[in-house]
Structure formats: C-alpha cells, structure tokens
Subunit: 483 residues, 2 copies
C-alpha cells in the first residue's frame, strides 16, 4: 500500500457525498478483467452497424454514479478520463438530472429552434445565468455552436471576416469577389491563414483539422489548407531543475514564431493555442511564453484565440486555464466545449461579429439544451466552490503522484501539472509500458486515458476529492508494480 504524504494543509470537508450518497468507496468488480464478456459481446454487435474500432468498453450509464463509471458487466471503475475530459460533475449528478427534467429543457428538446432566426424569448437569460456568467475576464459576447471543432471553426471564420473587413475599410464587396468566391477562388475566397502550434489539437472538421498537428493518424488522407505551424516549447522536468533551459526554449519558440510571422507569404488572420496541448501529450508552457504570444500577435495585428475546449471549466484550478497567465490584455477569442457540453467562443470586440447577417450563421447556431445544461453546471460549480476545491485536491494528487513516479523505477517520468488543479499528466518509459499500465489499472478498477506518444493524462470530474485521489494513487502504484 502506498504511504500517502501527509498533506500540508487542512482539507475541506467532502462535498461529493452531498451529491452522491451512494457512490462506492472503491471500485466494484463483477469480472476479472475489463472489458468483461457482456461488454465485449455488446460491442461486437454494435460493430455490425457502427464504427466501434475505438471502443474501450461499453458503459452502463444508468449504473454509473459520481466518479465511478459502470461497464455493461456491472464493474464500477473510478473514472479519471471522464468521456475525454467531459463529465463535469460526475455521472448522474442529481442537480443536472433536475435541470434535465425541467420544463425549460423539455421544451428545448422538442422545439429545437434555429437560434439565429427564431431565438427563444429566454435565450439571453439562459446565456447570462450560465455561459456568460462564466465568461473569462474582458469577454462580454458569445457565439454558440455544437462541438469543439465547430467552436474553433466559427472563431476562424470570425477572424477571416474581421481581417478582410479591416482591409476593406467599409467598402462593399467587389464584383470580382462576389463572382470568384463561387468558384472557390480569390479574391472572394480568402488566402489568409490560421497559425497553430506543433502538437496542437483543435478538432476534426476540415478547417479545425488543418490547425490540428497532434498525430498523423488524425490527418492522413484528408485535404488540408496550406496553413503554417510554429514550434511549441518542449519543456524539461522537473521544472525547477531546468528553469534556465526552459526559458531559453520558450524564447526560441517565440523568436521562431515571430520569424514565421514576418516571413509568412500570406496574412495570418489568427493564431490558436491550447493552454495545455492535450491530445498532443499534455504539453505545458509557462506564463512567460503565453504573454509573449499575446504580445507578438497583438504587435502584428493577428487575432489571438485560446482553445479552452479541454482546459476550460475549472479542471486546472482556475475556471479558465488562461487565467493562470495574468495576461496584460485578454485573448481576442476563447473557445469552449466538453465540460460545458455547450460549445462556442467568447469575445469582447464587437467587430468580430460581421456587419452583414447570414455570414456567421447556420441552421442551429448551437443547441439550447446544452446551454441550459451549461447553466446548471456553472451554477453548481459556483455554489459548491468546485474550482477552489479542484485546485486543492489537485495539489494533493500531484504530491501523491510525485511519490508514485519516484518509486516507479523509471517507468514513469516527466510529471507535470503542478498547481494546475487535477490537470496532471506524466510520461511512460515506452508505449508498451503505457498500454500495460492502462490495462492493469482497468483491471484494478481505474479508467485512465492516454495522450501524445507516451503520456497518461488525468481528467477527473470537479467532484474528485481526497478520497478518490487515495483510491487512485493506491491503484496506480499497484498497477505500476505489476508491469
């Protein structure tokens, strides 16, 4: 059994029991391995009609509770992956069930509006009590969409339209623009570009995918725009040991970024970056780097988009991860999805809204059911102070992981995410070790996720507490010992 280091601060009393009086105190097993036979059987049948090549296991969501996900066989696993960073308040959270059963939700389900044409009379209220109440500092406006990819693409569209409007200086579209665009040609179609960073992930639709640089398998055989990428710092750990080298590496990346900008054959409409590159391997950078990004983009008239699809909504110990940076001026747009269920982007500058209607437009323009859910999520996060709690438990978890890593005989390394809530990750010494650890953990009742080439990332709920951290640390230490 792992000796958990004595925490150096007093813990706030558990609040997860308020939500989940029947949450198990440890994993529950019905089969010796996960996935069990029933899960396998169901998945095989599903494969007859649906692409099931990426299935880890088939879940029974009716039996899942709090931080524990049930598989179809009835095994209950502590879940620190949470539908790829998406379950904010645990499975079957009673407050969200209440929201799901509300008249407001039922109406939004059966009377789904084309929001930009026939908005519902309470849409502003829904936004103001939820998504907008949660808006990052300096951001007063919102565009709602359907997914992280969609959020990023609409942000890109806003950027392109904004930059062209600036160049046009109030003039109307030219006849040549109006005709050439119908053939997908310039000048009507834009030659401008979006800059993203090596190892970044911004989604899978064609525009988003052109900025995604995580892995080849995400991109192969799909047409891509000729858009530039800049290097993202590769930091060395532990940070305190490599402070000088890391600063140098971040400066190198900033210099190279400015070099790319100055030499770009095409105007760069916007640059997009994740606070922590998640799919790409949970790569962090410091506030120094991000302040540099903000300054360089501002200097060159490039819009600065922060993709908080994965980092947003509390997991990093701030509501928005970019609040860690203390930027001297806010980003131009911040995109979100996942834990908020609703997706979209925030902005402050009204000029990011095109002057003509039907340009930033589509049939749904989001989904009020998700905005209603986001409202409930936000209100619960505030009421129970879950961001502070996540920061606190994250520190505890990080300390425990330092011990596990130090005892792992080199199998684990590069622990990262200190003072970053539960948004923690580390590397394994090889792909094989990682696969074995993940499977051993599953068999011991812990569901974790991989990212990048060698990393394991933690993405628990905002109701993940000390007691869950203890279960987690014990299983992880047992698993790594077995590998």
């Amino acid at each position: 059994m792992l000796r958990i280091p004595k925490p150096s601060y007093r813990f706030v009393r558990s609040i997860s029991t308020k939500y989940f009086p029947n949450e198990p105190s440890a994993p529950v097993f019905t089969t010796s391995s996960v996935p069990g036979p029933k899960s396998k059987q169901i998945n095989q049948e599903l494969g007859e009609v649906y692409d099931n090549g990426a299935t880890y296991f088939v879940a029974d969501y009716f039996q899942s509770i709090g931080n524990y996900i049930s598989d179809a066989d009835g095994n209950k696993l502590l879940d620190v992956y949470c539908q790829i960073s998406s379950i904010p308040l645990g499975y079957n959270n009673p407050k969200l069930i209440e929201a799901a059963k509300s008249d407001e939700m039922v109406s939004a389900i059966v009377n789904r509006p084309a929001l930009a044409c026939f908005p519902q009379s309470n849409y502003k209220d829904i936004l103001e009590q939820g998504l907008l109440a949660a808006a990052p500092p300096g951001m007063t406006k919102i565009w709602t969409s359907l997914s992280g990819s969609d959020a990023n693409e609409t942000a890109y569209k806003a950027a392109f339209m904004y930059q062209h409007a600036k160049l046009r200086k109030g003039a109307d579209f030219t006849a040549e623009e109006l005709s050439s665009v119908m053939d997908n040609k310039t000048p009507g179609a834009s030659e401008m570009v979006i800059l993203s960073f090596d190892k970044g992930f911004h989604g899978r639709t064609f525009g988003a995918l052109a900025t995604t640089r995580s892995k080849a398998i995400h991109k192969l055989d799909i047409p891509a725009f000729p858009w530039p990428k800049a290097p993202f710092p590769q930091l060395k750990y532990p940070l305190e040991e490599f402070a000088a080298e890391n600063r140098q590496e971040e400066q190198r990346c900033l210099d190279e970024l400015e070099n790319i900008i100055v030499n770009s054959p095409k105007q760069i409409a916007a640059a997009i970056v994740e606070p922590v590159q998640s799919e790409g391997g949970d790569n962090h950078a410091s506030s120094f780097f991000f302040q540099g990004l903000r300054d360089i983009t501002a200097k060159h008239g490039i819009l600065f988009i922060v993709d908080e699809v994965q980092t947003g909504v509390g997991a990093t110990g701030k509501f928005w991860a970019h609040e860690h940076w203390n930027l001297t001026s806010p980003p131009d747009m911040v995109t979100f999805s996942k834990k908020f269920q609703a997706a979209g982007f925030y902005f402050g500058n009204g000029d990011l809204q095109p002057k003509q209607p039907f340009r930033q437009f589509n049939t749904w323009c989001g989904d009020p059911t998700k905005a209603i859910l986001a409202k409930a999520i936000y209100q619960e996060i505030k009421a129970s102070d879950l961001v502070t709690r996540t920061a606190t438990v994250g520190n505890y978890l990080y300390q425990g992981l330092q011990t596990v890593v130090s005892k792992s005989q080199g199998k684990f390394l590069n622990l990262r995410g200190e003072n970053y809530g539960t948004f923690i990750a580390w590397d394994c010494c090889s792909v094989e070790v990682r696969a074995k650890v993940l499977q051993a953990c599953k068999d011991l009742g812990l569901n974790m996720g991989a990212c990048g080439d060698l990393s394991i990332r933690l993405r628990p709920t905002l109701l993940f507490e000390k007691k869950h951290a203890d279960v987690f640390l014990n299983i992880l230490e047992e698993a790594v010992g077995k590998v």
Copy 2:
C-alpha cells in the same frame, strides 16, 4: 376568399387533432404586425451579447403548438418554415415530450458519452429502433454526427480515406505520408477533391462550405479548397410544357459533368448532390438526371453522396427524396440532419469505414439525446403513416397553389414540387415583391421562408393537413392581393 379547387380524392381523417386538441384553427393576433414590440425589445437586448442580425422574430416555444408558432407577443402564426425545415411533428408534440422526459433521455443528457470510446449499452437498440429502421434501401450502417455540415464532412472524410485506401492496396502509410501530413502537405494530405453542383448547399464548416455554391454571402472571405463544381439543370416550368427542353438541359448538365470528370486534374473522391437544391432556390431535377449522376459516378469510381439534410424524413412524400428516383443501385452515402435532429450518414459498403481506429473519430461522435429523439420521431411517423399523409396533403396544397399562382397576375411563377409532398416552392417576380409577400403573410399570421434569389419555399411539419393548407392558401392569396 379563395375558392379551393375540389380535391379529386377523399381525404383521410385529420390526425393532428389527436396530437394537438388545442391547436388553433386560425392564426391568433395580439399585435398588428409581426414582430411585435415585445419581440423587438427582447431581440434588441439579445443583440448585446449574441449576433441577432438574422432574427425574424423572437419565439415563445412554451406557447407554440402543433403547426402554430407563437412569437414573444403571443401572436400565433401558422408555420410553414419550421426552423428551416426542422420541426418534424409540430411544436410541443406530446409524444416527443414523452420521449424527452424518459429516463433514457435524462441519462443521455447528464451522462453524455464519448460514443466511439465508451458507447452506452443500449446505443445499438436506440439506432435500430430509430435511425437505422429509417435507413434508405441498401444502407445498413450509420455514422452519427452533430449537424448537416458535420454529416457531410464526415461523409467526405470517409470518401477520401476510402479512395486512398483503394490506391494503397493494403499497403501501410509511407514515411513520407506520415511526415508530410503534419505540415499539411501531400502526399500525406490529400489532393483529391469533392465535386458539387452550382447552387448546391452543403453546410458552413470549412469542408462543407467548399462544396456549398448557393450564394456569395455564405462564402465570402473564408478560405476554400480548389474543388470543382458542375452545372445543375435549370428547368423551365410548367414541366409538361417544356419536357423536351428540360430533357436537353439535363443531358447537357450530365455531359458537362462527365467532361469535368474526364478533365479533372485531381481525382474526384466523391460527388454530392441534394435531391432538391434548397438554399439555392428549390431547384429540382428529374429522375433521369439523378440516374445519370449515379451511372456516371459509378463508371468513374466516384462515390455518390446524396445530401438529404433538408429533403429527408418524409416531407417529399417519400421518407427519403431519392426514393423518388428508382435508382438502379443505391447511393454510396446518404446524409441527414434537421427533421431527425440527429445527424450523420448512412452507407452500405463496409469499406467506407476506415480499417484503423481513431481516423473517423471525434469526442462526441454524435449525441445520444438526438438519436433517442429521432427514434421517437421515426416511430410516430410510422405509427401515423405521416409520409403517405404528407404526400396526399402535398397534392392538395399544390393544386391550391396552382390557383393562387394563376391568379397572382404574374407576381408568382414557376411553381414546383408536384408530387413531391409539401416540398413545394415558387418564384416571385422580384426581390421586392417577395419581401412584401413574406411580410404581408407574417402580418396575416403565416410564417414562410425564402430561398435562392426569388423563391419562397414551403417546409411545414409532417402534421400539416388539409385544414392547415386551407388557412395557408387563404392567407397567401390575401397577401399577394395586397402587394
């Protein structure tokens, strides 16, 4: 008052009263014009935080019922636009409310899965009792997504991956592919193209938008792939008068299509077409043309995608509009969204599913709440035989419109959609007349939608019946008389 032509067949008894005993029998007015002052006020406030440039009026969905939409002032308008062709079974349909309140729905709302990683144990059942039960002939598999744009883009991705896999003949990715794709360059990034048709509309995300050719305002200032477009027939009306010319026009378009294919500098992975080009102006073509498309694409190894986002789910008097064509072999993929709320594409050929996992992939891979709603929608359509009913009332509506058009003194022309259910449209003699007619109709309690340069399109619910058609025809005749 309009004299409705005596219908030549006996009408089936109304079924909408079963669903909506309290549906008004005519529009209800609380203000002299629509939008009323409250709607305007709310919309102005919404504009402070949200792009409201395209708002027609603010709706009160709690007060909307059946075929009548309520605005924020309490006016109740007969709705033949239906959230841009999306409300399948009327506002506040009790059977959909039942589905919305079900345990299955509540669970899917609060425990939203990453479907391709942790599918819920009953997902296959949900699909088989809904979306898959409704699948077009010859299509046994499904990919679920979030919107029409997303449905089309995932179909394009499937097409690109399929065509490259064919060229690769089972070989693995090359080192050059794996590295070049990370720079968005060939050979890893594809140079293949998707062919679409002049005036087609396939969505707003970057890949979808590159195939959209409806209007410049949809595309301006957004980067576009250099993908080809082919001409879509411009038919003359009434069809029986121009049979020979229209056949010639369709043959011209087919010839030109084949010419484009043969001379294309890049391999065409797929061609996409709408059965009726909706945003582009409700442009129809005959079965002859679509059979030609199927034959030419098959001959050249090009996948044939039918975009039924707007035409699907019964409105044309068949469940899928392409069933009107009696094709000798089914399309390769059929995309859907809107009336089904759920979105995605159907296919029959298992090779359209990439061999490697995580290629056709994203976090959500659709939304089970929408699949559950689609199940309820499908089951109600079947139970109440709503496709047949829509075909019947569509004929009645069409006959009535022939009278309105003939009496319009040239203000209306080119009526189209005979034997195509309620999927009917006509042109106005000018943009000004169209705008005036649409406003006059709103003020008389009828909500209609425009499309293309001069057209008005009808997109009522599947519970739109003779009594609604009578209200509609009377208002329309009164409105056109006023203009």
